[in-house]
């Protein structure tokens, strides 16, 4: 990363008369020249830039130098599983023979359909479920789809009373939002002091109006919900289904599968657990899996394999796969078969990892998280002791390191996060979960080495010392980044969303 700020916009580099493209010069007769009726024509000129090719290449290259990515440095970003994005996946996702039109007839798209089918089968095995749809475009989109599966299931039994979704108060923000978009009501379930679901509180909400309970396990504090068999039993007994938010699947890989924990429906964030790049905020893909008996509710289109197809043999012909609709489908959530190029990356990763390495990913991610936790808990406040899974949460700096909440001038979690940027690390997830004032959530993932973790730990300890001895310096961080702390209030009060508005 280059710490010198580039900051120009392409519109500022534009000069009238420059071009950055070349198109064929087909000679069409005048009769075929474009001729639109006046009322259908664009009335205004555009603000699109005029730039030559090198100007465009330099512009975006310079811009990229002001960006941090996994290839640049370490992301201790809780809940986001920022693991290494293997380059083989990129190569294979861009194979020219996969770049076909989505409405290609099935017989000519068997390769794409085979990739979809194979990925679906592997995810089902890893999750301990029966079948996956890969159509949802992102994690939150998967949540919505999974909840619609549940709604469709209740609808198919003519049970219209089930309108409530139970969500722990520590849940990801998308959980309640997805429940609302799916047309259901959100009921919050309390946590115990150790951060796990309060089963007694859960019991008070159970009844014939409960459609589902959404959980992630381990939860957003990185704590395994030991009561999960009891919770699943209670929810099932009252007629609801169990939904697993796959955001925290990584530590459970090959150790404890959602299907075996009693979950009926789940989504996977392949951009977290299965190494596809985050792309500065998408595209991901949010496959949704269901247990046996719920397959018919999955969204259309579905990829159907011929009855005689043997997945272990993978020999197929032009009729092996077809696109269809499942019997009792909830409808459609995507135009086609999801973010297909992301699915290809997922398959490449699953095959590279194989049955031996998938369980190791989970274990090493848990090892890394616990190691950081143990080595920093004398400087940062650890509200919940004990083994964590892939991530854990500090509640800010300890009081003796400038983190005393009662002191108005204390060094906040935001300050620590911003100071980390000066040292070449991304910040952890901050102020989430909402259970603590100064939450600072760390997830290292299995692809980081002990050296990187040791460097990070040293820096975190250094920041704690700085917070104690030179508070103002930390409170005004970052100092060495391309830009300094931004004025968020101004961005809201004087909103400018386009170049024209500047």
């Amino acid at each position: 990363m280059n710490n010198k700020y580039y900051g120009k916009l392409i519109f500022e580099l534009s000069r009238q008369g420059r071009v950055g493209y070349s198109l064929p010069n087909f000679n069409y007769e005048d009769a075929y020249k474009m001729n639109l009726p006046e009322e259908q024509k664009r009335q205004s000129t555009t603000l699109l830039p005029e730039a030559d090719e090198l100007t465009v290449v330099r512009h975006y290259t310079n811009m990229s130098n002001n960006n941090f990515g996994v290839d640049t440095g370490f992301y201790p970003l809780g809940s986001c599983t920022m693991k290494y994005n293997p380059k083989l996946n990129e190569e294979l996702a861009q194979l020219p023979s996969l770049n076909i039109h989505p409405l290609t007839p099935d017989f000519a798209a068997q390769g794409c359909l085979a990739i979809y089918d194979e990925t679906q089968r592997l995810l089902s095995e890893v999750a301990g479920l029966s079948q996956f749809t890969l159509n949802p475009y992102a994690g939150a989109h998967g949540e919505l789809t999974g909840l619609l599966v549940i709604r469709r299931y209740h609808e198919s039994r003519n049970d219209s009373a089930r309108v409530k979704v139970l969500v722990p108060d520590s849940a990801h923000g998308t959980n309640p939002a997805s429940a609302a978009v799916s047309g259901m009501q959100v009921v919050q379930v309390k946590s115990l002091p150790d951060g796990t679901v309060d089963v007694e509180d859960l019991k008070t909400h159970l009844g014939p109006d409960v459609a589902a309970m959404m959980m992630t396990n381990p939860n957003t504090l990185g704590i395994f919900e030991r009561q999960i068999p009891e919770i699943a039993r209670l929810v099932h007994e009252c007629g609801g289904l169990m939904y697993y938010d796959g955001a925290n699947l990584n530590p459970m890989l090959g150790v404890c599968r959602p299907g075996d924990m009693g979950f009926d429906v789940m989504h996977i964030n392949v951009h977290k657990t299965f190494s596809t790049p985050h792309g500065g905020g998408g595209p991901g893909d949010g496959p949704v899996g269901v247990r046996k008996g719920l397959e018919q509710f999955l969204p259309s289109p579905v990829v159907i394999a011929a009855d005689e197809y043997d997945a272990s043999d993978i020999y197929f012909n032009e009729d092996t796969f077809c696109i269809g609709e499942s019997g009792d489908t909830l409808g459609s959530v995507s135009g086609y078969l999801g973010n297909f190029a992301v699915i290809t990356r997922t398959l490449s990763y699953l095959l590279s990892m194989g049955k031996e390495n998938i369980p190791m990913a989970g274990k090493l991610s848990v090892l890394n998280a616990n190691y950081i936790k143990e080595r920093l808990k004398d400087c940062y406040l650890l509200p919940i002791e004990g083994l964590c899974k892939h991530e854990f949460v500090f509640d800010g700096l300890r009081p003796e390191y400038g983190g005393d909440h009662h002191d108005d001038a204390h060094v906040t979690t935001l300050d620590v996060a911003k100071r980390l940027l000066d040292y070449g690390f991304h910040a952890p997830t901050i102020y989430f979960p909402l259970l603590f004032h100064e939450a600072l959530m760390i997830e290292p993932t299995e692809t980081e080495s002990k050296q990187t973790l040791d460097d990070f730990i040293e820096v975190m300890r250094q920041i704690a010392v700085e917070a104690r001895d030179d508070r103002e310096m930390v409170r005004t961080a970052p100092h060495n980044t391309p830009v300094r702390r931004l004025d968020d209030v101004k961005a809201v009060k004087e909103p400018k969303f386009t170049y024209k508005a500047l």
Binding site: L92, I100, G281, G338, L364, K418, L486, T498
Partner: protein, 447 residues
């Protein structure tokens, strides 16, 4: 040892010692034994890089890849300048996270700001968000916006001339969200405007969603619709093919409140369905109802201009169940495809793309009619680069299959037994058109 795991056995031992447990398995000591997965996963052993490459390449080669693609229906085989894949492959962009830490994410924030500017400008609207998943979900979100804006109205009119893959998504969202979607019927290949106006009369409609470039390739005329909607306090949303808007009257110029659709046509490969990028643009009054991320300009502590995610109070991580949408991140990276594409093409390039598509499509249309084997599905309608013909004999899907197998040409989309929808992009000129027509002639004359 494995290439994605950096841990040596010594590292593992030292780390376990610090944690105070004996083995990696002990890190899971609190998990009840009966929940633990025993045995091994029923999947292949780890494959080497060579083997993974061979395996996936072998699968990919089972596709029949046409040399020329005339399929459209919302996804087009446009030319992609070599700069676009080159720039987008930079891992500083692709491996980065959502730009919450603005100080080290100006690259992402800047290209999204450029994208927002370009899309607002192309659609003739005030503000664009930082992307939706695709054109179908963007249209569904436009529907949810109409209902949220109207407060007490729950009915949304949707043109029956939308592509079925968009209608299916809109109707799914509507069904579970309790929105009453009423399809405005089709008349001679376009939305029946009189029927739409009549439906507005009831004063219970939250919004009308139309498509400018419809399922048959016809460009619809929206004269008078904005006035009719606004007279009845309904919003007007228009879905367009993004690339068309360099030459067509924009949603803003038609008086729309919302513009939505897919921007695949702006530099994004067809890639068997995704990732694409949905766009959603609004007039200023609706900005607080807008779902998704927004990047705004502000200043940093040194007073220099910089960019930041803003207006987050609308979003799920702050508002939870009261958010405008559950959307978290959408297709941020795809904004870079669009921004770099439009930076290269500019207005002139995008206009040329439309002119070439228009000429090619009109030539192919006329030549196919001349063969005597086709007739216009809807004669006399305005189209740009896409049209729908009725086969006088034979079955459209059989023709498509024949052309693919014998000529490596995907001649269009068989949208019904006797209907073929054909799109022509700037990649194909008069010679390609001639070859297409010759192959078609031979096929149908031997039928």
């Amino acid at each position: 040892m494995f290439k994605y795991f950096p841990h040596t056995s010594e590292d593992i031992r030292e780390m376990l010692d610090v944690i105070g447990v004996k083995s990696l398995e002990d890190l899971y000591a609190e998990i009840p034994e009966e929940l633990k997965f025993k045995g091994e996963l029923n999947m292949p052993s780890a494959m080497s890089e060579v083997e993974v490459r061979q395996h996936i390449q072998a699968l990919a080669e089972a596709n029949i890849v046409p040399e020329e693609c005339y399929a459209g229906c919302g996804v087009y085989d446009h030319y992609q300048p070599s700069v676009v894949p080159y720039i987008t492959a930079r891992s500083e962009f692709s491996t980065s996270y959502t730009p919450y830490q603005a100080e080290i994410s100006q690259g992402t924030l800047q290209y999204i700001f450029e994208y927002q500017t370009m899309m607002a400008d192309l659609t003739g609207m005030d503000i664009s968000n930082a992307s939706m998943y695709d054109g179908s979900t963007a249209t569904a979100e436009a529907m949810l916006m109409c209902v949220a804006n109207a407060k007490k109205r729950n009915k949304v009119l949707v043109a029956a001339t939308f592509l079925p893959q968009i209608l299916n998504v809109v109707q799914t969202y509507a069904h579970y969200h309790g929105v009453d979607v009423v399809l405005v019927p089709e008349k001679e290949g376009v939305m029946d405007k009189d029927a739409a106006v009549a439906l507005l009369e009831a004063d219970d409609v939250a919004g009308l969603i139309c498509c400018q470039h419809n399922r048959y390739g016809i460009i619809e005329d929206f004269t008078g619709l904005a006035e009719a909607c606004h007279a009845h306090k309904a919003l007007l949303a228009i879905n367009s093919v993004a690339s068309d808007l360099a030459v067509l009257r924009t949603p803003g110029e038609w008086g729309a409140d919302i513009a939505c659709g897919d921007a695949q046509s702006l530099g994004i490969p067809m890639g068997y369905g995704g990732p694409y990028i949905g766009y959603l643009c609004v007039k200023e009054a609706l900005v607080r109802r807008m779902p998704g991320r927004l990047v705004g300009a502000t200043t940093d502590a040194n007073g220099q201009r910089a960019f930041v995610l803003t207006m987050q109070a609308r979003e799920q991580h702050i508002r939870r169940e009261k958010a405008t949408s559950n959307i978290c991140t959408a297709q941020g990276y795809m904004c870079l495809f669009v921004a770099s594409y439009l930076a290269l093409m500019g207005e002139r390039g995008l206009r040329e793309v439309n002119e070439l598509g228009y000429s090619g499509a009109h030539l192919l249309h006329d030549k196919l009619l001349e063969t005597g084997f086709f007739e216009d599905a809807f004669p006399g309608k305005l189209f740009l680069n896409e049209f729908t013909l009725r086969l006088k004999k034979g079955v459209a899907a059989d023709f498509v299959r024949h052309m693919l197998e014998c000529a490596l040409v995907l001649p269009g989309v068989a949208v019904a037994d006797d209907l073929l929808t054909v799109a022509v992009t700037e990649k194909y000129g008069p010679d390609s058109v001639e070859d297409y027509v010759e192959s078609a002639k031979i096929y149908f004359s031997e039928l």
